[in-house]
């Protein structure tokens, strides 16, 4: 690979020639050796067999001035440096005031041994700083991992105080921003105690803690040494904690607004918060604040969703004269999306004329918009019912109301049914079907018929067509309203078949003689089995049954 000879080879040749030609030069004299040892940057302490110092060089005298020739090396302060049990050749480190010395022992013949001293203060300071930095990084990594594990503000705040007492302080408290009631909630943890303390203070009380009101308002943190721990109010520190020696108040930055503040306390006599600590606390607070504010946002959104879905919640179905009602609504809630299926029951007010009215509908789309639209439809119907109770007229009015709606696609399909009691326990159902799968009627003998009513979907076209129909239910007979989530459910033995209207009709025919609630439960079960655990769309069923003769 290469043609150059190694330098060592040449040296060896020259050396051997040299040795062969000339006698070796005389060794250095004692003075020269002494000067060489004296000039050495390492400290050298030469001792005799009894451990009495024979010679000390300048470097050793600088590091340990009390070592003097003629006295035992391991005497006085220097005893800590020179242990009898120090193994020869090994080095160990010894702290000495602000210095850190590395000590090594070497034996020379039987009569002498020497101690070598090296000042490693700067070196070990660098190592310590590196290790501390590594511990801080590990702490922050751990903090990031644990803080991101929850989307609940209280749990995030709890994690933050637990992390803080594990690494940063003797006691840690997260104060959350004051809520509408002007109360600021707090969580606190104390090192060595497993229990979490919780409480709330008035917003005014937060002003008692130096820097806290400012931190809650999002001002930059005040350096710890400026805060007088003596001013801390009693509620800030746990009972039995004693006097706080050092206090650090840091804002928890959130999404543009503060997510709260972190209060750290160290006991009197403990280490103060150095600048490095404060930087670390600020980085930690940034992570904790981000986690807490993300959780707060999420909770707000969940609360909003809960309010929106409450518009979709089905009403209680009370017992009505001569008829039974039963309903089932299984929301898809797919990927957090709210579906737009609903059913509702409208009863005439006390003393008011008119029949009960049922509705089952499906609004276009998913998510918050669908939920709002479904809520609008239900409320519009409630209002329209004050003026009009004929189903086909109601659908036409609802269509006009939806066309005027600011929603981009206010399309709704629904079935409206006005319930009248007829002769001999019969129930008459005046049905308007607007763009919706027509209801099914289960007769006493188990035959199932599809209602012939039909009409346009609502909210899309200026003019709607509507063919209403009145269904006559004998006692025990049942009319089933459903959404397309039932018939369009894809599953079955192959996992790819659509359930379809035919299967629903067959399943319904097996429900003859059952009370409405049992029939709905059975159909819901069959549908769930068809889906095999899959959730695709909202599925709604609503059954109206003329009460069976006893």
């Amino acid at each position: 690979m290469t043609t150059t000879r190694p330098a060592g080879g040449t040296d060896r040749m020259r050396q051997s020639t040299h040795v062969a030609d000339e006698p070796p030069p005389a060794g250095p004299g004692e003075e020269l050796l002494r000067a060489i040892v004296e000039a050495c940057s390492e400290g050298v302490v030469l001792c005799d067999t009894d451990g009495v110092v024979v010679m000390v060089n300048a470097a050793a005298a600088r590091m340990a001035p009390e070592i003097l020739p003629g006295r035992p090396a391991a005497s006085g302060r220097a005893a800590a440096l020179f242990g009898h049990d120090h193994p020869e050749g090994d080095s160990r480190e010894v702290g000495r005031g602000h210095l850190r010395l590395r000590v090594r022992r070497e034996a020379f013949g039987v009569a002498h041994h020497a101690w070598y001293l090296r000042d490693v203060t700067a070196e070990s300071a660098r190592t310590d700083a590196l290790l501390a930095e590594r511990r801080r990084t590990e702490f922050l990594v751990e903090a990031g991992r644990r803080l991101s594990a929850s989307l609940n503000t209280r749990r995030c705040a709890r994690t933050a105080v637990e992390l803080a007492v594990s690494f940063l302080a003797d006691a840690a408290m997260v104060v959350l921003p004051p809520t509408g009631r002007r109360q600021a909630g707090w969580l606190r943890s104390v090192a060595g105690q497993h229990s979490l303390q919780e409480g709330a203070v008035t917003a005014a009380s937060t002003a008692q803690v130096p820097g806290l009101a400012e931190a809650l308002a999002g001002f930059p943190p005040v350096p710890s040494r400026w805060l007088d721990p003596g001013q801390a109010p009693r509620w800030l520190l746990p009972d039995g904690f004693g006097q706080a020696g050092h206090l650090l108040v840091t804002p928890l930055p959130g999404n543009g607004v503060p997510a709260g503040a972190l209060v750290l306390a160290r006991r009197e006599g403990g280490p103060a918060f150095e600048e490095e600590d404060e930087v670390l606390v600020r980085v930690f607070a940034a992570r904790a604040g981000a986690a807490i504010s993300a959780a707060a946002l999420y909770q707000e959104q969940s609360a909003t969703n809960a309010i929106l879905t409450s518009d979709l919640l089905p009403p209680a179905l009370p017992a009505l004269a001569g008829l039974e009602l039963a309903g089932s609504l299984r929301s898809a809630q797919q990927a957090g999306l709210i579906g737009g299926d609903f059913y509702d029951l409208y009863l005439p007010g006390p003393g008011a004329a008119g029949e009960p009215l049922v509705v089952l509908g499906d609004v276009c789309g998913k998510g918050a918009r669908a939920a709002v639209l479904a809520g609008q439809v239900r409320q519009s119907l409630r209002t329209l019912l004050l003026l009009e109770r004929r189903p086909e007229r109601l659908t036409s009015l609802l269509n006009r109301s939806l066309l005027a709606s600011p929603s981009p696609n206010p399309f709704v399909t629904l079935v409206l049914g006005a319930l009248r009691t007829g002769q001999q326990g019969h129930v008459l159902l005046d049905l308007a079907v607007a763009g919706h799968p027509p209801p099914l009627v289960l007769r006493r003998d188990g035959t199932v018929q599809e209602v012939t009513a039909g009409g346009s979907l609502l909210g899309a076209l200026q003019e709607t067509v509507m063919t209403p129909v009145t269904v006559d239910l004998a006692p025990g007979e049942l009319c089933l309203l459903y959404s397309d989530g039932i018939t369009e459910a894809v599953g079955g033995p192959t996992g790819r078949q659509m359930y379809g209207g035919q299967r629903l009709m067959q399943a319904l025919s097996t429900c003859a003689g059952m009370p409405a609630s049992a029939a709905v439960e059975r159909l819901e079960q069959i549908s769930t089995e068809w889906l095999g655990g899959d959730v695709q769309d909202d599925r709604v069923l609503l059954a109206v049954q003329a009460r069976a003769a006893r």
Binding site: D362, V363, C364, G365, K366, N409, F411, T413, A434, G435, H436, P437, P438, G454, G455, S456, L457, A460, L461, T464, V465, D484, E488, V490, G495, R496, D534, Q536, D537
Partner: protein
């Protein structure tokens, strides 16, 4: 969950002032907006007739129907027309249920 097929669209110019749009795949909640965006681009002052071939659509949900209604309404405001030239039995049933068969121009059975 059943694997979804994307919506594929093909635009053909069949005659002067007539554009044919062939849709295949799923027209549903996830893809309805694509159709609407595409149609907005197709409508020009020269377009007199938009023909829709829906025979390749595997699945249409309420959002898909909404998209078709939007196309229909857009055509009317642009003084143009929309005609469905081919569709599946399932879609014909869907249009019947929603009474859109009385609004949309459909091919004879």
């Amino acid at each position: 969950m059943l694997e979804k097929t994307p919506l594929r669209t093909e635009v053909q110019s069949t005659a002067e002032g007539t554009t044919r749009l062939v849709l295949t795949g799923d027209l549903d909640y996830d893809t309805a907006a694509e159709l609407f965006t595409l149609v907005q681009e197709l409508f020009s002052p020269d377009l007199r007739l938009l023909e829709l071939d829906l025979s390749g659509l595997d699945f249409v949900d309420s959002s898909g129907v909404a998209a078709l209604i939007n196309v229909y309404n857009t055509a009317r405001t642009r003084e143009s027309a929309m005609r469905i030239i081919a569709l599946t039995p399932y879609l014909r049933h869907l249009f019947k249920v929603t009474a859109l068969d009385q609004v949309f121009e459909l091919p004879p059975v």
